[in-house]
Structures are given as structure tokens and as C-alpha cells.
């Protein structure tokens, strides 16, 4: 039997809530039917609520990060900044060959005065280029480097495949025992899609190539292991997961997890590549155990490029069949992921679009003798976006449709309203209405040409219940919020303080956030944009419980019941009579020397999930040089409750910059014959700099939902919009990222020859 939907008795509460009270909707059986009714309850009944946003002082406002001054002044301590008494410096030697075996003679290295320990890291089998094979600890970084160079590594090189082309070739050297090219999808029957394509009014196709991108975190992977023998160790780790460290390290040190403390005071970027100890962490533990001294091991930049992960590249061959109205009726694709020895993140094709279309996608991976890809901000989505948004524009041009109209037609019904609202807002912000090339690229002969492109993104961004937070109020009125969580530079530390300050009626500076230590309450690792939706409800809960506990102590002083109290700025007062009050310090004085401590856990109703965003880019193409100048990027993003508008704006802008860099510059380059990584440095692995950054506008759609993580959505569409804008500007579709001037010039020559 289908349940009747819940019925609302009234749209609005019957009257404004009394002081200290609030209206909630509760489900009640009225005449045997489940009905929602309004009920006036104490403000605190039913647990914490974010409350009305227009009354917020700190949350949902734009506030500078509390750790900003420390970071810009250099006071902030990153793992690589740690200096401990007796500490030694370690370096990692990586394999010079992609495939083969190596024999190590460590004696010469050990003989160098100042070199304290030299260890082999694997059994001598090499199956990817740059795989760490040995580590050296010495009294200075320079001596550790000398030690590395003194290791005699004798390689027996075997044939290798460092590029997908090499790996897929006939008689290619074997990379994976299950085959170099593996089909991961199960369905092999494309007959239905083939039939639909056969009947389509128009067919549009292309093959898009996506390079391997690097996380390029400014702080490389690494740890400082403080273990001097005995039963306790502290690991200062550059990690996205404080709690991913103790267990890993304990195993290496021969300790119990509880005997190892992880410290992540500040970390210099991870973007998905920094979970757990990694080979470098294992090596540091081994060396510390051998020497009984603290070991500092941060990868050098070249090793970071070779052996610390990347975003999988890929190749997408897509074909869309359209009906005569521009609706895609069939999508056939072959999606190949390039994940090195790994298989790469899934590239979700078709991406968002393609409602009601018949879809057949063969999902494959090609293995190469290079390090495995890892998660990277929005895994798989930016790759899928690149080919899918290009396909959409090609469908529009083939059908003579406006670039927005093709999207309207092909978005699913339950997505259309959201994305079209966002796309149209982007269009308004970027000047689409005055743009003359809405349904065909500009093929005129002018020197400087301007084009516009659009793209959209989706992400889950929900939370989960792994966080435990403590709020402490001391007798002197000072307040601390404690959580083991890590701040990746996203503003976690700041909202820990602001949520508590808001709840307790305090200024931001009155709450000291203490995070990044595994002895504090547990917290989830920062992946998948889950940190804020997991942590912030837990912080809110702890703050809420602290307030209630304080009210218990204060109520007798004011001669009222605890639920009659409310907080004002720096005071606690009777809700119905605000003049009857006690100052914060005086209230806390009643706590006694132990102060109070309150715990918080995840509150599902304070979080939500599922974000969508749209972006647009306007570019100028110089047809004499092929130069692409991004003039404008705009973003419209929904994201539930914004914990800190300034931080969310930064997240979006950061995502847009990272996507711009991905689309226009970034690419791992390997020489297929020599088996060498040619650009494992910040000169030749090009990343956008200040002059590449366009005007940027960011708008949020405030929606009534709870907290949702949106950091990954920010990075998904930008490069696709830019590539589409280049095509719109000058007619050249660059199928392989990065979209660079040389490819535009070659494309323009080809267009000229075609006439």
C-alpha cells in the first residue's frame, strides 16, 4: 500500500515564537492520518539547529581565516618546518628505469662521514619509473643527498611501456599480469545504441585526450618521525587524514596505534594525494627505528612528481546521435583511463547530460610502467566534463542551436531547473546576450577573437558520523574547541572557532581552536569534500551541549530554570527579560576550577548533500600567435549553509584557477624511447601564474539546506568552459588538453586550408 504523503497543516507557524522558544513541525496522527503540525518548544529541544541565517553573526558571514596571519608571516609550522633535537634528514633514491631489477651496493654511501643509515626499500623489482628503492639518513640534507649519489645501483633494465601508446601496441612489454589493456565494464552489447545511432537525424563524434595532471602540492609528501626508542612516538605528517597516520606508523615502528600521536598543525596541500604514510613515511619510520633519532623526510620535487600520485589521464571516444530537435537519443563511447600501474578513477561518462538517451560506454584502462594515479579533487569528474561539455557544444553547432538551449534540451527533468538557472546567471554575468556567436563559432578573419564557453558540475559532498568534538570552558571564561581534524588550507580551523563563538555569544577571537592532533577527538580524513559536512555538525553539537551545561550552572544565579536562558554578546540573560543577565566571565566563574567539558557528535540534520554548479569562461584568441587569454571566469554554485563566505569564495576561485591551469598548461611529459620523465619540475611542468588569472566572479545560491562540501565541484567545469570558449572564439576544437597556442595555430592553418 502506498503511503499518503505527509500533509502540512499550515504553511507558517500560527504566531511568532515566544522568547527562548521556537516552532518546529512534528508528525502527529490526527484522525488516524500522519500529519505535520506546528509545535512551540524550547529553543533547545530536539538538539542543535543552525537557526535563522539572518541572525547569524559569524557563521554564514565572510570572516578572515584565524590562521591567516600565522601563514603569511611564516609563524605557521608545517611538517617540513619541524626541527627536533638530534633530528636527522632523510632522502629517497628513486629508480632510474621503468622496469627491471636493481641490485644495490650501499657500502660507499654508508662510508660517508655524517651518513648515519642507508636502507633498501624494496626487493629489487622495479615495475614503475621512479619507484623508491633506497633511503639515506644523515646529519644534514646535503649529506643525505651525497649518500644517495654514493649508492651503487646496478640495473638490469627490461623493455618498458611508459606511454599508453607503447602499452597498447602489439608485443608490448607486459605491465599487468591481467593484461596491459583491460576492459572494466561488463556490458558488451551495444546493439540497442547502435540501432538508435542508426536512426538519429544527426551524429556527432570526437576523440578527446586528457593528460596526466599532478597535484603539485607546494609542501611535498613527507613526515617527521619523532621516535627515540621506547613506547611512544610522534609523527608530524603532511596529510589529509590525521587519523590515517598512527596505525600505519605503529605497524612500522612495532608499537600499538595508541602509542603513536599524529600531529598535523598545518599542511601545504594534498588535493587527494595525501592519505596514510606512503613509502616515504615507511622509510622514515624504518630509519628512526634503526637510529633512535627523529627523522625528517620530505620528498624532493622531482620525486614528488615521479612517485606521489597524479590525476589519471585518459582518452574518450564519444559519439552522440541527435534527433531533429537537438535531443541526444544515443551516446556510444569508449572511455580509457590512464592510471599508470593503477587503473585510474572512473570517468563518469555521460556526464550529467543525456536524459533518456540510450547509452553504451566501454570502460577500459591502459597500464603503464609509471606510478599509480591517486584521487585528485573531484576524481574522474574533470576528465568526464572535458569531453562531455565539448560534445554538447559540437551537438549545438551541428544542430544550429544556442549553447544554452542544447543544455536545456539534454538535462534531465530533475536537474534542468537548477542548472539552467545557474547557466543563465553565468550567461548574464559574462555578457552572453551581447555575444554574437551563440550557435556557431566565429569563423571571421579578424586578428583578435572572443569566445564564450559553459560547463557544469555535480558533487555529493555529504558528511558522515566519524567526528568527536570537545568544547571546554574554563573558570576564567576562556574557551577551546578540540578536534583531531586537519585543516588543508580550506578554513577548518576557522569554522571550528566561529561555530562555537556563535553558539556561546562570544567574539571569534575568544575561542581557541585546537586541531590536528590524534589525541583529540576522532575525525574523518579530508576526502570527497566530506570534512565540513562531517565536522561542523559535530562542532555545533559540542558547542550546543556546552551552552546547555553552562546554563545549568548559571540558572540558579539568576533564579530561573536553565531553559529560560539565552546568550547575548558576552553575556547570559533571561530570554524573556534580557536586562536580567550575567556577564560571560562572571557566569564562567561559577564553574569551579574544573571548568566544563562538553562533547559533540555528528548531527545528520545539520548537514546535507548534493551540490551543483555552473561556470562560464570568456577567452580571447590571438589568431596571429595562437595565444589564449582568459578574460573572465564566472561561477554560480549552490552549497547549503555557507560556513564562511570568504572561505567558500576562496574555494571556488581556487578551483577555477586549478581548472584553468589544467586546461591550458598542465601535462606530465614522458619520453617513450628513453623512459624518462622530462618535466618533473616547476619550470617545464607549467602551472598558471598570476598573469594567467582572469577577472573572476563568484556567486552562491543560498539554499536552506545544512552544510555540504563543495570544494570538488569548484574544480570540475572550468577547463571545459575554457576549451569550449576557444572553439567558440576561433573555430578550432582542441581535442587534447592542455589547450595551447601551438595547437590553436595548427588548427587555424587546417581551417584555412579547408576554406
Amino acid at each position: 500500500m502506498a503511503l499518503e504523503p505527509l500533509k502540512f497543516q499550515d504553511e507558517k507557524p500560527p504566531r511568532p515564537a515566544a522568547p527562548g522558544k521556537k516552532w518546529i513541525r512534528v508528525t502527529k496522527a490526527v484522525n488516524g492520518i500522519d500529519t505535520e503540525v506546528w509545535e512551540e518548544v524550547s529553543d533547545d529541544a530536539g538538539g542543535p539547529q543552525w537557526g535563522p541565517r539572518d541572525q547569524m553573526r559569524l557563521v554564514s558571514r565572510a570572516i578572515p581565516r584565524v590562521d591567516g596571519p600565522d601563514k603569511v608571516s611564516g609563524r605557521a609550522m608545517y611538517s617540513s618546518d619541524m626541527r627536533l633535537p638530534g633530528m636527522v634528514y632523510a632522502r629517497v633514491l628513486r629508480s632510474r628505469v621503468p622496469c627491471g631489477t636493481v641490485k644495490l651496493d650501499l657500502e660507499a654511501a654508508k662510508a660517508i662521514p655524517g651518513v648515519l643509515a642507508v636502507i633498501a626499500l624494496n626487493n629489487g623489482n622495479i615495475d614503475w619509473l621512479g619507484r623508491p628503492i633506497a633511503a639515506v639518513a644523515a646529519t644534514t640534507p646535503e649529506l643525505a643527498e651525497d649518500g644517495l649519489r654514493a649508492i651503487v645501483a646496478t640495473y638490469e633494465e627490461q623493455p618498458f611501456a611508459v606511454t599508453p601508446e607503447q602499452s597498447a601496441a602489439e608485443n608490448a612489454p607486459k605491465v599487468n599480469s591481467r593484461g596491459n589493456v583491460r576492459t572494466l565494464s561488463k556490458n558488451t552489447d551495444s546493439s540497442e545504441v547502435d540501432a538508435a545511432l542508426g536512426k538519429a537525424a544527426k551524429r556527432v563524434q570526437g576523440t578527446w585526450k586528457i593528460p596526466v595532471q599532478h597535484h603539485a602540492s607546494l609542501e611535498t609528501h613527507g613526515v617527521v618521525v619523532d621516535y627515540r626508542g621506547g613506547a611512544e612516538a610522534t609523527i608530524y605528517a603532511s596529510t589529509q587524514g590525521t587519523f590515517t597516520i598512527p596505525g600505519d606508523a605503529a605497524g612500522r615502528l612495532g608499537l600499538q596505534g595508541g602509542q603513536v600521536t599524529a600531529v598535523v598543525e598545518h599542511m601545504g596541500g594534498g588535493f587527494g594525494s595525501k592519505f596514510g604514510m606512503g613509502i616515504e613515511g615507511d622509510a622514515a619510520c624504518q630509519l628512526a627505528k634503526e637510529l633512535g633519532r627523529p627523522v625528517h623526510l620530505m620528498l624532493d620535487r622531482a620525486t614528488e612528481f615521479h612517485a606521489a600520485g597524479n590525476r589519471s589521464g585518459g582518452e574518450h571516444t564519444l559519439e552522440a546521435g541527435l534527433d531533429d530537435k537537438g535531443q541526444i537519443v544515443a551516446i556510444k563511447g569508449r572511455v580509457t583511463r590512464h592510471g599508470g600501474v593503477g587503473q585510474g578513477s572512473g570517468h563518469p561518462i555521460p556526464y550529467i547530460y543525456g536524459r533518456d538517451a540510450k547509452v553504451f560506454v566501454e570502460d577500459r584502462c591502459i597500464h603503464t610502467h609509471t606510478d599509480s594515479s591517486r584521487a585528485m579533487r573531484g576524481p574522474g569528474h574533470p576528465q568526464a566534463s572535458f569531453s562531455m561539455e565539448a560534445l554538447m557544444d559540437e551537438c549545438a553547432y551541428a544542430s544550429g542551436l544556442d549553447l544554452l538551449e542544447i543544455r536545456r534540451i539534454n538535462l534531465a527533468d530533475n536537474r534542468r531547473e537548477l542548472y539552467m538557472r545557474q547557466l543563465e546567471r553565468c550567461a548574464a554575468l559574462i555578457g552572453w546576450d551581447k555575444h554574437p556567436f551563440k550557435n556557431a563559432p566565429d569563423l571571421s578573419k579578424s586578428e583578435l577573437k572572443v569566445g564564450i564557453g559553459f560547463a557544469i558540475a555535480r558533487w555529493g559532498g555529504g558528511g558522515n558520523g566519524q567526528c568527536k568534538v570537545e568544547v571546554r570552558i574554563a573558570q576564567d571564561g576562556s574557551v577551546e574547541v578540540l578536534s583531531g581534524t586537519q585543516d588543508l588550507g580550506t578554513g577548518t580551523r576557522t569554522y571550528c572557532a566561529s561555530i562555537v563563538a556563535e553558539e556561546l555569544g562570544l567574539e571569534l577571537g575568544a575561542v581557541r581552536p585546537r586541531i590536528g592532533r590524534s589525541t583529540f577527538g576522532s575525525a574523518n580524513a579530508s576526502g570527497g569534500s566530506t570534512t565540513s559536512p562531517s565536522l561542523s555538525p559535530s562542532v555545533k553539537h559540542a558547542a550546543h551541549n556546552a551552552r546547555l551545561a553552562l546554563f545549568e550552572k548559571v540558572a540558579p544565579l539568576l533564579g530561573v530554570k536553565p531553559d529560560e536562558l539565552a546568550v547575548g554578546l558576552g553575556e547570559i540573560h533571561v530570554a524573556a527579560k534580557p536586562s536580567q543577565k550575567i556577564a560571560w566571565k562572571d557566569a564562567c566563574a561559577a564553574l569551579g576550577p574544573a571548568g566544563l567539558s562538553a562533547q559533540g557528535e555528528w548531527q545528520a540534520h545539520l548537514a546535507s548533500s548534493d551540490v551543483g554548479g555552473a561556470q562560464a569562461a570568456k577567452v580571447q584568441v590571438d589568431t596571429l600567435t595562437g595565444e589564449i587569454k582568459v578574460l573572465d571566469m564566472v561561477a554560480v554554485q549552490n552549497c547549503g549553509l555557507l560556513l564562511n563566505r570568504m572561505a567558500v569564495k576562496s574555494q571556488l576561485q581556487g578551483g577555477m584557477v586549478q581548472a584553468l591551469s589544467y586546461g591550458l598548461f598542465e601535462e606530465r611529459v614522458l619520453d617513450p624511447d628513453l623512459g624518462l620523465f622530462l618535466n618533473a619540475n616547476f619550470e617545464d611542468y607549467k602551472i598558471a601564474g598570476v598573469r594567467e588569472i582572469p577577472r573572476m566572479q563568484v556567486e552562491f545560491e543560498d539554499d536552506p539546506r545544512g552544510v555540504i562540501g563543495m570544494a570538488e565541484a569548484a574544480v570540475i567545469p572550468g577547463h571545459s568552459a575554457i576549451a569550449n570558449a576557444v572553439r567558440n572564439a576561433c573555430g578550432v576544437r582542441v581535442f587534447d588538453m592542455p589547450v595551447t597556442a601551438d595547437k590553436v595555430l595548427v588548427g587555424l592553418e587546417a581551417l584555412r586550408k579547408k576554406g
Binding site: 596571429l624 624518462l676 601564474g689 598573469r691 595547437k743
Partner: protein, 331 residues
Amino acid sequence: MKNFTYVMPTSLEQVVELLPGPRDLKTRDRVKVLAGGQDLLGELKEHLVEPEQVVNLKGVPGLAALTQQAGAWQIGALATLAALEENAALRASHTLVAEAAGSVGSTQIRNQGTVGGNLCQRPRCWYYRHEQAVCIKKGGAECFAYGGLNKYNAILGGGPSYIVHPSDLAPALVAAGATALIRGKKGERTVELERFFTLPSEGAVTRENVLAPDEVLVRVDVPAMAGWKSTYVKFRERSSYDFALAAVAAALRIEGGKVAEARLVLGGVAPVPWRCEKAEKALVGRKIDAETCRVVGELALEGAEPLAHNAYKLPLAKGLITKALTKLATA
């Protein structure tokens, strides 16, 4: 980097005394001179050179001087790129030199990098810069770029090495008719800057210029360019900081709307700054219009032989020539 001894002499006599003998070709890299260090430090860190001794030139007085007399300039080897970029008089008289200096690297690099260092810097080819790739530039048998990933390599003057000369100042100063003052154990000599740079097919393939092991570049002299207009147009893939994919140093003397004299030198396309004499001659007597730009572009790139991945440099260099000439004609 490998350990070395570090010395800071106070006179040029002492500097050349410390250098190897003029015929010590095989052991010349045992001593390296240090100016701004922007290139040398990278070479040391990557173990591309492992000198026993590094001789810092900064103790020698007067090497950073930048002086003008009757429109002609003397530029000391230790003058910084920033000093050139920021000198208003130089920018007025020799626009192309100031523009070229200002296009180098980043602000930090220009504050530290010197004229001598910029002219004598080693190639940026990623095979040359990779310690494991023992290419012909490093005494190996092969230019890996030739049959490899050569997007950034030469389309003119290549073989047996296909590097491009990385200096921005070099094409500008060659176009300005500069000469190099060189000091060696036997005294001073002067070389036209155009002859200072050597093609891999002419000089030693492991070097890019005529400096003997006992020699050091001391000063660049730039003649007056009264009546000339000039510019340096550089194309960078990443404009924040990058080496040139191609660049044009152009100078014109225009009389009555027509070119009376012209200098055209390309950067980023050849192992040396590439003087385009045929194009220069063709410019004389013409006014700058689309047809002139087309003809000059064709002549300038005559003989170009693109490799597998750098054919784009042809339209790019032509496009830059058009931009440079148009800019000078309308300035």
C-alpha cells in the same frame, strides 16, 4: 650539488688567473664563474656541472656599471636585468633591449640575473636538463630532441644539436649591433655579439659561444641608435614566467613612411639568435603593410626545417614579425 671551493677575487686579473688555460677544453668545467647564479645554481643542483671551484665575479669592482655616452651604452656583465628594464634612458634609446630584459623570467630572477649570465646561460632543452639523458650537448652521441619530444626545439640552424638559445637579451642586443668585450689570460678582445654565439655545426657542440676556457665576458657595448625605433616581442606559453617559444627583436629606421634601414633577429627558434639578413634587405624601401609583413615573414623563416612537434613555430614567428613591424610602423 657536489662540494666545491668558492673564491671571490677582487680584480679581473685574478679572475682569469683562476680560470683554466685557453686550451684546457676538456677540463674547462672544473672552474665556473658565478654572476647572478640564476642558471649556474640550477646546473649545480642538477649535477649538470660539478666544478671544483666557483669563482664569484661580484668582488670585481665596476662590472655592474651601466653607462651612456652620446647615445651609446656600455653595459657591464654584472648589470642586472632589472637595471636594464628600469632604465628610462635605455628604454627610450634602445627600447628593444629594455623590453627584452623585462621579458626575462620573473621579477625575482630579473633582480638577481645579470646581462653576462643571461647571454652565457646554457640551453633549457629538457633532455639537456635531465641528468640521465646524456645528449650530444653533454658529450653524448645523440640529440634526443631531434627524434623525440621537440616542441620547444629549433626549426632553424639545427644539427647536430637542436637546442634553441634561451636568451632574450641576445636577439635584442644582436639587433642593436652590440659587441662583446672579452677578457682572457692574454688580455682583452672584442667580438661582434652576432659572432659571439656559435651554431652547433660551427663551434664546439657542447658550447653556445666563442668563449675560450680562460675567458670571461666583461661588457657589452651598444652603439647609438638615433633615429631608430625598436621593439622586442616575445611569445611565452605562460606569460607569468617562461622562456620564449619564439621572439622577434626588430629595429627600423623609417624615412618618409618607408623603411630606410632594418634589423630583424629571431629568438627561440634556433641555437643562436637568428639574424634575418634577407628579410632586413627586403624591408628597405618598403612601407609596413600586410604584404610587407607577409614577404618579410617568408624570407625570415626561409630554410626552416621543423621537427615532428614544432611546425607551429613557423606561423608563430611570422605572426610575431607582423606584430613587431606593425607596432613599429604605428608607434
